[in-house]
């Protein structure tokens, strides 16, 4: 879709009247062109809308998975309970685990990455926008497919890890829903991984060298690489199981001599990198939040990044610590024990770096900050119990007890979910233009922290007392009653805290609009309006430093303290030309002070934001200093690099076209075909499977033959659209 933006006036010029703020899109297309409303979301290829849809869908799954957790806790709250039958309990705990991992934490991370990665590296969209939409729809189809099992004869009941040979022989279609559902979700994650990797590797703004990227970008990138290489392994495992169950193959048939450990090896070879796929993005979020609210740069940026990379590599060499009791032999267990201890080192490095980031910082205690600190503390507890699993004799005692359950909830809830909630509070104003209430956020934090520790803390004790996992009830005289009751009460506290969050979200509709940069933050996403326009950057920024926005706002005094810039940026224009060459040539010496990136916002919108900002400062939770320096984006002046190209664009008043990729129906249509195939194969109804296959192939052809960016209609000024044509043309013929 072609969008017309007004180039900004020179700094001296006053903003035009609000009416001229954003000219309406100039053209209608035969392709889907709904600018607003339901269809605009269904056909969108905009990475921001897709990111929001990922997050919203994942949050709904979070509620479902949470309700499942409450069911489990009610059942286990008292001994000999009959609230859930054994069969129902198996279904609920399997779906709880599968949901929370594949339908909550992964898509929440994917949603954040989708929204933020392109903006953080200074791009206008991901590399393949339609593939991005496809990934989301495939994820949704996969989730709904798996949940349709509840209506169609029973949900998966073999645990989230689905150990074969057990799952090979379980009757009914329960396990089939799990197998096919995960296959579909795998496709979603794979396309997302390829897309985000290409975006980060290939679409960074000028000057955004790898070691200037925000840590969130780095951690997400590493997680995407882990996905890229881990997913094929689980895909193979699931395919083998599918062949066993559907077509009578023997991969997990112990009677035919199959290796009963094959599944465990394949699953955990995927499963352990998966753990880092779940935690690394949250680590990135925390690494963005802590510097902003400590008003200090992240301590040890390079070490932070390198530890992330190290985790990504070592994460491949620890999988058998999930299998210490399966009889691997002393050599293998010793090796995996050592590698498991070793991976604690880069993780520990990160924790100390976060502490050092806060040390002597000017800390502002806000909701996102609290969640980030919650992440660091809870994740440390989870990490420490993780180290006890590296010790084989100790692990032998703990395997399949509630101690393990405690450990991974401290890592995945105390870690990932706290980090992601922190991210939600931190970026909410960027996503919506409105603040979440900080007061409610803090209330939620404390409720969640107390509820979380009440629920999962006692699991350590229960586990050491010998309470096994996956039992649906226990007799009265085991001594487990008290702590189980405590855990159940705690789980309802968590539920209350989630309700507080939902109330907060609902209330935020009415909270005042905020400007570009309500937190006085450091990275590029805060240099553009909140919420960002469809094209993100009216002008692609020129990056001259890590934490580029910060250096645009502040310089250092003689003692190295940050002081607001006094010289208007326009006076520094002259330096820009030199800076471009230096920055993009990778000269590290050139830092922010002399070279300003050009970020342009529409001026009327900017003025509205300035007004909104004044209100926001009165609103809860916004530090009073935050707004005052947030002008960088607003007063950014027009970078006239392309003066040489298009003479007509020298002075404000002419329109400049930014060709954004056009919406498309095909990603959704193609994604739906996958469910058709799966139902067809599962119920051995060949015509349906063939129909689904043709459906997918047909929609992929339609997709491939549809240009990524619909051609422009004739313009009054044809020259305007040709001058900048490369902008849209590369948008991914494969997109």
């Amino acid at each position: 879709m072609a969008i017309v933006t007004s180039p900004p006036p020179s700094p001296a010029e006053l903003p035009p009247p609000p009416g001229s703020a954003r000219p309406a899109p100039v053209r209608l297309l035969r392709r889907p062109t709904h600018p607003t409303g339901l269809w605009s979301w269904i056909t969108t290829v905009d990475h921001k809308k897709i990111g929001i849809m990922y997050s919203a869908a994942a949050f709904i799954f979070f509620l479902i998975g949470g309700i499942e957790a409450l069911l489990l806790r009610v059942q286990l709250g008292s001994p000999d309970n009959t609230f859930l039958s054994a069969d129902a309990y198996n279904q609920v705990f399997t779906m709880h685990g599968t949901t929370m991992i594949f339908l909550v934490v992964m898509p929440l991370s994917a949603g954040l990455a989708n929204y933020l990665l392109p903006i953080m590296v200074g791009a206008r969209d991901v590399a393949f926008p339609r593939l991005n939409a496809f990934g989301f729809w495939v994820f949704l189809v996969g989730g709904l497919f798996m949940y349709s099992s509840f209506l169609l004869g029973g949900a998966p009941n073999g645990g989230w890890f689905g150990y074969a040979p057990l799952t090979r022989n379980m009757p009914g279609h329960n396990i089939d829903y799990w197998i096919f559902g995960l296959q579909i979700l795998g496709i979603a994650s794979l396309t997302g991984a390829v897309n985000l990797i290409v975006t980060v590797i290939n679409m960074r703004a000028p000057g955004m060298s790898l070691f200037r990227m925000p840590v969130f970008v780095w951690m997400s990138l590493i997680a995407q690489f882990l996905l890229l290489f881990a997913l094929p392994v689980i895909t193979v495992a699931l395919f083998l199981l599918m062949f066993d169950r559907q077509f009578g193959a023997n991969f997990f048939n112990a009677q035919e001599g199959a290796d009963p450990l094959l599944w465990q090896h394949l699953f955990w070879l995927f499963g352990h990198p998966e753990v880092y796929i779940l935690i690394l993005p949250a680590m990135g979020v925390v690494s963005e939040i802590l510097p902003v609210f400590s008003r200090k740069p992240l301590f040890g940026y390079q070490v932070m990044v390198i530890s992330g990379i190290a985790i990504g590599f070592i994460g491949w060499g620890v999988w058998a610590h999930h299998m210490f009791v399966s009889g691997l032999g002393p050599v293998a267990t010793s090796a995996f024990s050592a590698s498991t201890m070793f991976i604690a080192v880069p993780t520990g490095v990160k924790i100390f770096n976060w502490l050092a980031t806060m040390w002597k910082g000017k800390i502002r205690i806000t909701a996102p900050f609290l969640f980030a600190v919650g992440f660091v503390t809870m994740f440390t507890i989870g990490g420490l119990s993780g180290v006890t699993h590296a010790v084989v004799p100790s692990d032998t005692q703990q395997t399949d007890t509630y101690y393990i359950v405690a450990h991974f909830h401290y890592v995945l809830f105390g870690g990932s979910m706290f980090g992601l909630f922190g991210g939600a509070f931190f970026w909410w104003p960027k996503f919506t233009g409105r603040m979440l209430s900080d007061r409610l956020g803090k209330m939620q934090f404390w409720l969640m922290l107390i509820g979380f520790n009440m629920t999962f803390g006692p699991f350590h004790i229960l586990g050491l007392q010998g309470m096994p996992r996956r039992i649906y009830t226990y007799p009265e005289d085991m001594g487990w009653d008290f702590w189980n009751m405590v855990a159940t009460v705690g789980s309802f506290l968590i539920a209350v805290s989630v309700l507080v969050f939902m109330w907060n979200v609902w209330k935020s509709r009415k909270s005042p609009q905020v400007g570009n940069d309500p937190w006085d933050a450091r990275t590029l996403e805060w240099s553009i309006p909140s919420p960002p326009p469809e094209y993100n950057f009216a002008e692609i920024p020129l990056v001259t430093a890590r934490d580029d926005l910060w250096h645009r706002k502040y310089e250092e005094d003689q003692e190295g303290r940050p002081v607001p810039r006094t010289r208007p940026e326009s006076e520094e224009r002259a330096a820009v030309g030199r800076a471009v060459e230096a920055a993009t040539g990778g000269e590290a010496g050139l830092r922010g002070p002399d070279a300003t990136s050009s970020v342009v916002t529409e001026t009327a919108a900017g003025r509205a934001e300035a007004a909104g900002r004044a209100e926001a400062e009165e609103g809860d939770g916004v530090d009073a200093t935050a707004g005052s320096h947030a002008e960088a984006g607003d007063e950014g002046t027009h970078h006239d690099e392309h003066g040489g190209h298009d003479g007509h664009d020298e002075h404000g008043g002419h329109d400049e076209h930014i060709h954004m990729p056009s919406p498309s129906y095909w990603p959704l249509v193609a994604a739906m075909g996958l469910a058709v195939v799966c139902y067809g194969v599962m119920y051995k109804f060949l015509p349906v499977a063939i129909l689904g296959g043709l459906w997918i192939v047909g929609s992929l052809y339609a997709w491939a033959l549809e240009p990524a960016t619909a051609p422009d209609e004739p313009e009054p000024e044809p020259s305007t659209s040709t001058d900048l044509e490369p902008v849209g043309s590369g948008t991914g013929s494969a997109g």
């Binding site: 206008r124 290939n202 679409m203 000028p206 290489f229 062949f243 013929s733």
Partner: protein
């Protein structure tokens, strides 16, 4: 979507890509980076499948069909040769479109697709012979791991044939101008990958006893 061209072109900073592509951080087009990433992922897919085959090699309980009973090495060598030759014709197709020779492009695309299709047909024939000799998916571990591994590869070749045929028909309708040579190159990357995987499979599965 890629980085906007104007600022970078003006400064001559970002790497230039082939004409028709916006400048990117690496100088490679997005599509090419994506294809390499995808092929990296595929390496692990086939790696896992081949590992399973090797793990189960010789593990089938006695008195059932073994590889030695069914393999027809000369026959499979011929079909492997056919597939390898298709890599050569793929290279010729790419060279043709890069020269702007669209007639030869179509000739070589069609040849490649036909060679690939013959390979798949050969595999289907091989499967039917094996099944007649009593080796099915459910016979033993060897049957399961053999059919799934080679079948996966055959499915990849089939997909490649489909893509080649699509390129051919696009070219017939004049929708593959010389600027789109990279599309042929990308399909070529995939095609060569599938061929290389076959070299590994042929060696490990058929040749090494």
């Amino acid at each position: 979507m890629s980085t906007i061209s104007a600022p970078t072109d003006a400064q001559g900073s970002h790497h230039e890509v082939e004409p028709g592509h916006p400048p990117t951080s690496t100088g490679l087009s997005n599509e090419k980076v994506a294809m390499w990433a995808f092929l990296g992922s595929e390496c692990l897919l086939f790696g896992a499948l081949i590992s399973v085959y090797l793990l189960y090699k010789g593990q089938s309980p006695g008195n059932t069909i073994t590889p030695e009973d069914v393999y027809d090495i000369p026959y499979t060598s011929v079909s492997s040769f056919v597939l390898l030759m298709s890599s050569l014709t793929m290279v010729l197709a790419l060279a043709a479109i890069q020269r702007g020779d669209h007639r030869r492009l179509r000739v070589w695309l069609l040849t490649t697709a036909l060679l690939g299709a013959s390979f798949v047909a050969g595999q289907v024939y091989e499967f039917t012979v094996f099944i007649k000799e009593g080796l099915t998916l459910s016979t033993n571990l060897f049957g399961s791991s053999f059919y799934v591994l080679t079948g996966f590869h055959g499915a990849h070749v089939t997909l490649g044939v489909l893509m080649l045929a699509s390129l051919y028909s696009l070219s017939l309708r004049g929708r593959m101008p010389t600027e789109k040579a990279e599309t042929v190159e990308l399909v070529g990357l995939y095609w060569h990958f599938v061929d290389i995987v076959w070299i590994v499979i042929f060696t490990l599965v058929y040749l090494i006893p």
